[in-house]
């Protein structure tokens, strides 16, 4: 069988491209950010290892326009095409699936992604897709599904594989039940870097302090914590599983020594903590990978890292830590189930920067309960943390209820959702009723991002970066230029609805 794992180029009416972004949601950007879809990459690698003909078909990262991408895909004559979609581009995908089925009637179209997995029947009703995966463990499902289809012509009627909704006929769907929640993550292979054309993703990514960078095969599937209400990695049907430290270390060694990678970021919801984190850092040091001019980074939570672990990570050349701060008032932190207080945030940030790590904060504004006082508290705290130099960079987004997360359900139950048009869920504007006018949240974003241009912050940044082990002014300039470009883009994207009626 010939299987394409495909990401079509999607361009909005402002000429912005749809990019997979925070929380695997889609955001539109003029300047690209290419994030390697790791789990789909593992799925592709696994199918290739099983002997199937696999096409890694990311039209965005491969710089194709839609027509060229579509022509190339059809010309390849796939037996199966796998798409990943989330709410803001669902309508696009429904049209695309029908277009593809017209061009390739015998091609099996498989839909994955957090929207269709929660509402499989909707997608089957709205387009001619053949199979919906109810699991986010795409690799585990596809490695069972593809061989089964390959060997059984009557797969639509008798598929025993869990976690699927299969079209039997126009309005007749077979639901194969709940998907298996947990499988040993070590069974899934490392991402085949050549298959996914890793260099396509190696340069344009704001999480890299230096390039070429790449995403590691994630050590955690879903999230170790898994309780934050706004996050995708939360729900009774999701849980976490963990990869072994040694297997990951082997991959890091290959990436550094065979591929010349200079930055490795692990995009697990939350990376190792405690004993595993220390074991990993020691492994990097024991293998000498900390002396190979490669930085390492990951997502973490406040409350997870103690001083001994942080010191070891710094010694092992870890730098970039992406941490969801979300807000700085205790009520919001509690309502989001963050599991820590502002006191913990400050203690952790001081610890990270004491050892030269590079904490990148993600903040959200526009929660449906967020008052003027709470908003201002977040703005003031974030600015203070940046001016004090305990946080290095930041990213602000508008809190958008994502694909049936607890926050999304809460917004529906509270009656605060202002739209049910899926196009509006692209994180470019606020779509919930709030206690103060939306413009005040947009102004807060501008205010926070304004930190990047403040002389006090710039001075701190230069002072910090010049102390990094690699005092490379070209790197400093490159990173600084990239950062400013991204700040401008974020401010444009997140405030372009300023002045629009709520």
């Amino acid at each position: 069988m010939k299987i394409a794992i495909s990401y079509p180029p999607i361009v909005n009416d402002q000429g912005q491209k749809a990019m997979v972004s925070q929380n695997r949601n889609v955001q539109f950007f003029k300047k690209p950010t290419y994030l390697l879809p790791v789990v789909h990459g593992q799925a592709a690698s696994w199918l290739k290892n099983l002997g199937y003909d696999v096409l890694w078909d990311d039209g965005n990262a491969q710089l194709k326009d839609f027509d060229q991408w579509f022509r190339d895909l059809v010309a390849w004559r796939p037996d199966m095409v796998v798409f990943e979609s989330t709410t803001p581009v669902m309508k696009f995908y429904w049209k695309l699936v029908d277009q593809l089925k017209s061009a390739c009637p015998n091609c099996i179209v498989v839909m994955t992604g957090y929207h269709s997995m929660r509402r499989p029947e909707e997608t089957l009703d709205r387009c001619q897709a053949d199979i919906i995966l109810r699991s986010n463990h795409i690799d585990f499902v596809l490695r069972k599904l593809v061989p089964y289809i390959d060997e059984h012509s009557n797969w639509r009627d008798h598929c025993p594989i869990e976690g699927l909704v299969i079209r039997r006929d126009e309005k007749d769907y077979l639901d194969t039940g709940n998907f298996k929640q947990i499988e040993p993550l070590d069974l899934s292979p490392d991402v085949d870097r050549d298959l996914v054309r890793w260099k396509d993703y190696a340069y344009e990514n704001g999480n890299y302090l230096q390039v070429p960078g790449t995403y590691a095969t994630s050590v955690i599937r879903d999230c170790m914590f898994g309780k934050c209400t706004f996050c995708r990695y939360n729900g009774p049907d999701l849980t976490f599983s963990m990869r072994s430290v040694e297997k990951s270390l082997d991959e890091y060694q290959r990436l550094v020594e065979d591929y010349g990678v200079r930055e490795i970021f692990d995009d697990s919801g939350v990376w190792y903590r405690g004993a595993e984190a220390r074991q990993f850092a020691k492994g990097i040091i024991d293998r000498g990978l900390h002396k190979k001019d490669c930085y390492f980074g990951f997502n973490t939570r406040f409350g997870y890292m103690d001083e001994e672990t942080v010191a070891l990570l710094a010694k092992a050349n870890f730098r970039f830590l992406l941490i969801g701060m979300e807000a700085s008032d205790e009520e919001t932190l509690a309502r989001l189930n963050k599991g820590y207080s502002l006191e913990d945030v400050e203690a952790n940030l001081k610890l990270f920067t004491k050892y030269g790590l590079f904490p990148h904060l993600t903040i959200m504004v526009g929660y449906y309960w967020q008052t003027r006082k709470q908003l201002q508290q977040t703005v003031d705290t974030v600015k203070r943390l940046m001016f004090e130099g305990v946080a290095r960079t930041l990213q602000v987004t508008l809190c958008t209820p994502l694909d049936f997360t607890p926050y999304h359900q809460e917004c529906s139950e509270e009656g605060v959702l202002l739209t049910d048009d899926y196009d509006d869920f692209d994180m470019s504007k606020l779509i919930v009723k709030t206690p103060i006018p939306h413009d005040e949240y947009y102004a807060a974003i501008r205010d926070i991002y304004g930190v990047a241009f403040h002389p006090k912050f710039v001075g701190r940044q230069v002072q910090f970066l010049s102390r990094m082990r690699k005092s490379d002014w070209q790197f400093l300039f490159t990173y600084g230029t990239r950062a400013v470009r991204r700040v401008n883009q974020h401010v444009f994207n997140l405030t372009r609805h300023e002045g629009s009626p709520a």
Partner: protein, 213 residues
Amino acid sequence: MRHKVLSVRDISPTTYVLRLERNGFEFTPGQCVNLGLPGTGVNREYSTYSGAGSEFLEFLIKEVPEGTVSPKLRAATPGTEVDLHGPYGSFVLDPQKITNSKFVFIASGTGIAPFHSFVTSYPELDCQIIHGIRHAVDRCDIEDFDSDRLVTCVSREPLEGRQGRVTDYLKETSLETESFYYLCGNQAMIYDVYDLLRQGGVSGDKIFTEAFF
């Protein structure tokens, strides 16, 4: 929220029960919280061990020798303040099923904590508890469980003529496919038990898991 430690009670060399003042804290049995010592900036998740109606809060904690939080909590003395965040999590019983369904709770080690909370909160619960431990000394407050409902599987020494893991016990037992199965403990146990249950005809919709790490 700050809570004072009332006591630390040793269960075994590796396990203890931390008792905190209730302080008005409300939770649903099966939910967990984050616990840490103030000012350290580090905390960890623990399932509630005590019942919803108890006058205090209890957590069953395994001390990780090289751990950051569990040794400090074990060393806490009465009156020590602890930071508590939560509750959260969806590893809870459906209220509509509590009185009219059968449950099987399968735990390894301190994974029995939420099940202890279930049985003390809902005494009328029709349930069986299968608890896997390494040594007999790791049994926790067995007098709180109905002895007819509790099966203890000890893997490293015989107990009452039997020795083995929870998976050994399950292989010898006919599974009731109509029951709801709750699994809590280490990942390896959960992988193995999940597979056994599915092979035994239990629908994935009837299996709920909470992996400890």
